[in-house]
Amino acid sequence: MINKILIVDDSPVARRMLRTSIPKDKGYEIFEASNGQDGVEKYQELKPDVVFMDLTMPVLDGYQATAKIRELDKNATVIVTTADIQPKSIASVMELGAFTLLKKPAKAESIKEALSKVEMKLKKLRENK
Amino acid sequence: MIVSQIFDMLDAGIVILDRDLVVFKWNRWMSTHSKISSEEIVGKPLFEFYPELNKSWFLRNCKSVLTFGNFAFISQKLHKYCFPFKSYYNTLGYRFDYMQQSCTVGPLRDENNEITYIYITVQDVTEIVAYEQKLIEMNIKDGLTGVYNRRFFEPRLEEEFQRHRRYNRALSLIMLDIDHFKRINDNYGHQAGDFILKALTALVEKKIRIVDIFARYGGEEFCCLLPETSIDSAKVVAENIRKQVQDELFQFKDMEIKLTVSQGVAALSKDIENAESLLKKADDALYSAKNTGRNKVVTAK
């Protein structure tokens, strides 16, 4: 079950756009971080079930932050949100171990779909324990 | 519909294609020039009728319009034409195999602002292109003889000089002057003089290669730049011209005119600093040919 969601993006507008597009009926607890470094710290502190990660950010970018979070927790679920969806860019993100990638601006349906895929992954993880 | 009448009345081609480049509309102008009626082509892929358009540049332009909603401008300068329509007219003495066209591709949106079709407008610019060519020609050619003029020649001399020096290639220059041209004018009249200038240039052009640049430099003075040519070869060319002119009997109306030419030949060498010096060397050689009896070729030292 997804309880906590962490949104990592340096743009308050982007965070708001994402937050308002996440289904409201599931009672998710949503947290925000304003750069990669902040994201890594909040991840350790909050242990969220899903991270939405932007790529271009100051201090620590999304590539580095994703790698770091995956290093801390090999089961971490990071969904990269980016406007750049060139095949090569997607490939480099997936190599880092991202769960999936959402094209910005992310539509409510695609967020919902991605989250249900995460639910399936979490369920499998629990069963295998 | 009043507006839709324009579609067929306009003196320009309009084609509307769907996202798969299937023809949706084909206006009367297009039918007239393509000899393909709207009934024949509508509903069929454009490439079925114009396979020559199934090329990366055309596809890219259409894709760009469909993706970004921008316009693509298919210029005559780059492509000459989009649709191969026969051109029947003879404009300013130019004949084009195909109508020269300037085309624009743009998006057409439905009520949801989605691009559902693209249009192509086709404008006949053949006449403009003919005027343009005429202008260019007038700018670089001598009006009387049709050979290049001095304005065209000088920068070309400079370019060729730099290029040949850079790559260490042979380059020669012949300067040619008609002997006693004033006498021809005085004895036979100016019309005859003009005729001689034309006849002489025609004769010289037969003796040189396409790559050589032959120009009227002054009144009866001509220059010929010979790329990739040593001074010895240039001298042979000049000698050929001299002999041919000397042997020729020029006929203008009922007059028979004999004439000779003097020439100076110079070539690119290490001690020649610039194009101007090369020209001066050839000119000095010509001067010396004139001063030592005329009807001869003198090679610059």
Binding site: A14, A83 | N61, T67, G69, K77, H79, K80
Partner: protein, 215 residues
């Protein structure tokens, strides 16, 4: 990246929205570009500046190397969102840019002078890049624009004047700048989108409408 001057014209929130729209628009544009020209394009995070028209010539002079060593392609666009796109490449990259278009099948113009071809190539790249970026911004702001044919500017300062002339000197312009790289070809350049004062009022409304859908 926003300069302090931007604060005069836009609120903090508007500035954030505009910045995010640029990020999204230019990011999306790269993907679509790759679709059209088959090349991996990298666009930097765009910077948005508001500049007084009086300062625009100086800005252009310092931003664009107007000493004749740059290739500048200019294209105007019209609509609610209105202005000019300027694409700047370093000189000497024309051949590499031509290679991007990869027109082996353009044999019918093989005899055309190289200069004409290169100019045509610059115009086409300019048309596509400016169209992609301006088109995406417009799309996000729920409008669309029309374009005039692009033109290659000779790189001297004099020619930048006519860009400035389309603006009212007492007003301000929004300048959006992004750097781009064609990865495989190692060509760098930048794109400026200039919009005039008239667009600012409309833009403000459009920004509000954009965010309203995220309430």
């Amino acid at each position: 990246m926003m300069t302090p001057e931007a604060l005069d014209v836009f609120s903090d929130e508007e500035k954030d929205i505009l910045q995010e729209i640029m990020n999204i628009a230019f990011g999306n544009a790269t993907a679509d570009l790759a679709d059209v020209v088959d090349i991996y394009v990298k666009l930097s995070v765009p910077s948005v500046q508001v500049i007084g028209i009086g300062d625009l010539p100086e800005y252009l002079k310092t931003t664009i190397k107007t000493d004749g060593t740059s290739n500048i392609i200019e294209q105007k666009f019209w609509g609610n969102f209105k202005g000019s796109g300027l694409l700047v490449f370093p000189g000497g990259t024309e051949r590499d840019l031509m290679a991007i278009l990869e027109d082996q099948d353009r044999e019918e113009v093989a005899s055309t002078q190289m200069a004409t071809l290169e100019k045509g190539g610059l115009l086409e790249i300019g048309n596509i890049l400016i169209g992609a970026c301006v088109g995406k911004v417009s799309e996000l702001l729920d409008t669309f624009v029309t374009y005039s044919p692009p033109q290659v500017l000779q790189g001297d300062t004099h020619n930048c004047n006519f860009i400035v002339e389309q603006f009212d000197p007492s007003q301000t312009a929004i300048v959006m700048k992004t750097l781009f790289t064609f990865k495989e070809k190692d060509i760098n350049g930048f794109l400026l989108i200039l919009t005039n004062h008239e667009s600012i009022g409309w833009l403000r409304k459009a920004l509000k409408n954009f965010m309203d859908s995220y309430e």
